[in-house]
């Protein structure tokens, strides 16, 4: 498996096949005297922005702290929770219970459900 080509930017689905974002970053743990280990997947706007430009990331983080539905920490999924990596990355969590869907949930409750026909 080629981590950048086959995992980074791929779709993340939860255990119910619900789409919950994409792999915005991969965290590797460096250990003394042992080979580095794949630790987490990250999904979140700040991680994504960081890859485009550091200044954009600072700006996104500031906006999220000010107005966001959650804090600016990206959501981390431990590597051990990964069930399967095909074209999609399937993880053993329930998306609705995580902060990965914080904006989806906020928009659903505050905007979409208030439009006639949206609830």
């Amino acid at each position: 498996m080629d981590v950048i080509r086959d995992v980074l930017d791929n779709q993340i689905v939860d255990r119910n096949q619900r789409k919950m974002g994409k792999v915005d970053g991969i965290v590797i743990e460096l250990r003394d005297g042992q080979p580095p280990r794949l630790a987490y997947l990250e999904t979140g706007a700040t991680t994504l922005a960081q890859r485009l430009h550091p200044r954009l990331a600072r700006w996104v983080a500031a906006v999220e702290r000010q107005w966001g539905a959650k804090n600016s920490e990206p959501y981390r999924i431990p590597w051990s929770k990964i069930r399967n990596i095909g074209i999609d990355v399937e993880v053993d969590v329930d998306a609705e219970q995580t902060s990965a869907l914080a904006y989806e949930q906020w928009l659903r409750e505050q905007v979409i459900k208030r439009i006639p026909g949206g609830s």
Partner: protein, 404 residues
């Protein structure tokens, strides 16, 4: 039997999807200004678009992933952001033009200025997306699109001289008005080879749950559907050439284009033109709005789907809601719909290379298309289209300034 029905429906849908404000406006302009001489541009654009649409359907059917998903995964987000941003900008302008087309059609029939219609039209589009399913939008609206076949009927009634029509198959650049001629050629190609079709079609294939068993359906729908669509475009060009050009009427506005069906059909020709323009543009506006929501949601891995209830795909629904009303503001402020159409078609040509380049890699990647990857012929067509798109991208804006 079920597959046959799907092919038939798919073909009808493709006719509707193929024909939009850009195809009608550029074909009418070409016919009125240069007679049959730009027929080759429609044929060339059709061949390219058939091949690329077939590929985006094949990619989706085999890999269960849309074109936008595949580009993001395979090339990474840092590449995908380029076609994404470019496509959103172009979609915004095209959607404004499509809404403009519907508004002009309503203006022709009612006499009330198009600006007043923009928000009601945007609301109608939004309501259909909010309440409807993909099947309703795909099949319901596109069946109405069959009214555009009136251009084909008119072509037969006008008995164009066949040798003259055949001559239009050869790309011959005239001595006079060369830049205008080339600009219209670029606009025709930009109108026909629109990237939103590829993203939309592959998302539609996923919405309709296509798998590898649908490759035959895909080939038939792409080939026959787009082929029939282009026959309607040719009809518009030929009718404009037969009716408008001899009278020296150049299409400076849609009101003038509306006269082209009055010779074969009298007063009803005027109504039929308005109906064709309105319905074709309304169908295309639905597609462009959905397309923008598709590519945005797919960029970030959000839940998406027109078959989902809005609350199940909140961010997706929010994108199309905001987008359709923002784009309608272009018409509310009174930008000329025809000018906007020609400008967005030229701009489409500019963004073509980054939209088409990924096809060459994806359609040869076994992980995505397995044994159904491109053969040498398909690859040759893609390479040719990429080369063509680079030429178009470079000349489009200079020609717009000189000849538009």
């Amino acid at each position: 039997m079920k597959k046959l029905l799907e092919i038939a429906l798919g073909i009808v849908t493709s006719i509707g999807g193929f024909l939009d404000v850009g195809a009608i406006a550029t074909a009418a302009e070409a016919g009125s200004a240069f007679g049959f001489h730009l027929i080759w541009a429609i044929i060339l654009g059709t061949i390219c678009v058939i091949c690329l649409v077939e590929m985006s359907g094949r990619l989706a059917a085999v890999s269960q992933h849309t074109l936008a998903d595949a580009v993001r995964e395979r090339f990474g987000f840092n590449f995908y952001i380029l076609p994404l941003v470019a496509e959103i900008i172009v979609d915004f302008l095209i959607l404004g033009a499509e809404i403009g087309g519907v508004c002009i059609a309503l203006q022709l029939v009612t006499g009330i200025s198009f600006q007043w219609w923009a928000l009601p039209v945007a609301f109608a589009i939004w309501l259909l997306l909010w309440k409807g399913t993909f099947g309703l939008i795909e099949n319901g609206i596109s069946v109405l699109g069959l009214v555009t076949l009136v251009f084909v009927v008119a072509t037969f009634k006008l008995h164009p001289a066949l040798p003259d029509v055949a001559e239009g198959l050869l790309p011959i650049v005239p001595q006079q008005d060369t830049t205008h001629y080339l600009f219209i050629a670029v606009a025709i190609l930009g109108a026909l080879i629109s990237p939103y079709l590829f993203y939309f079609y592959s998302s539609g294939a996923v919405e309709d749950k296509w798998d590898a068993g649908y490759l035959g359906v895909n080939r038939a729908v792409a080939g026959l559907g787009m082929g029939f669509g282009s026959i309607v475009s040719l009809g518009v060009l030929i009718v404009a050439a037969q009716v408008l050009q001899p009278r020296g009427i150049q299409v400076d506005s849609y009101e003038q284009a509306a006269l082209m069906l009055t010779q074969p059909f009298g007063y009803w020709g005027f109504i039929l033109f308005a109906a064709s323009l309105g319905i074709a543009c309304f169908g295309a506006a639905l597609e462009v709005t959905l397309d923008t929501a598709y590519i945005t949601a797919q960029a970030f891995g959000w839940n998406w789907g027109e078959n989902l209830h809005p609350r199940e795909a909140a961010r997706f629904s929010f994108v199309y809601t905001v987008f359709v009303f923002l784009a309608s503001l272009l018409m509310v402020v009174g930008i000329d719909p025809l000018q906007l159409t020609l400008f967005s078609m030229a701009l489409t040509a500019v963004i073509l290379p980054i939209a088409i380049l990924p096809f060459l890699v994806l359609m040869n990647d076994r992980q995505y298309v397995g044994e159904h990857r491109n053969g040498w012929l398909s690859n040759s067509v893609v390479i040719f289209t990429i080369a063509l798109s680079f030429v178009l991208a470079i000349v489009a804006i200079p020609l717009e300034i000189l000849g538009g």
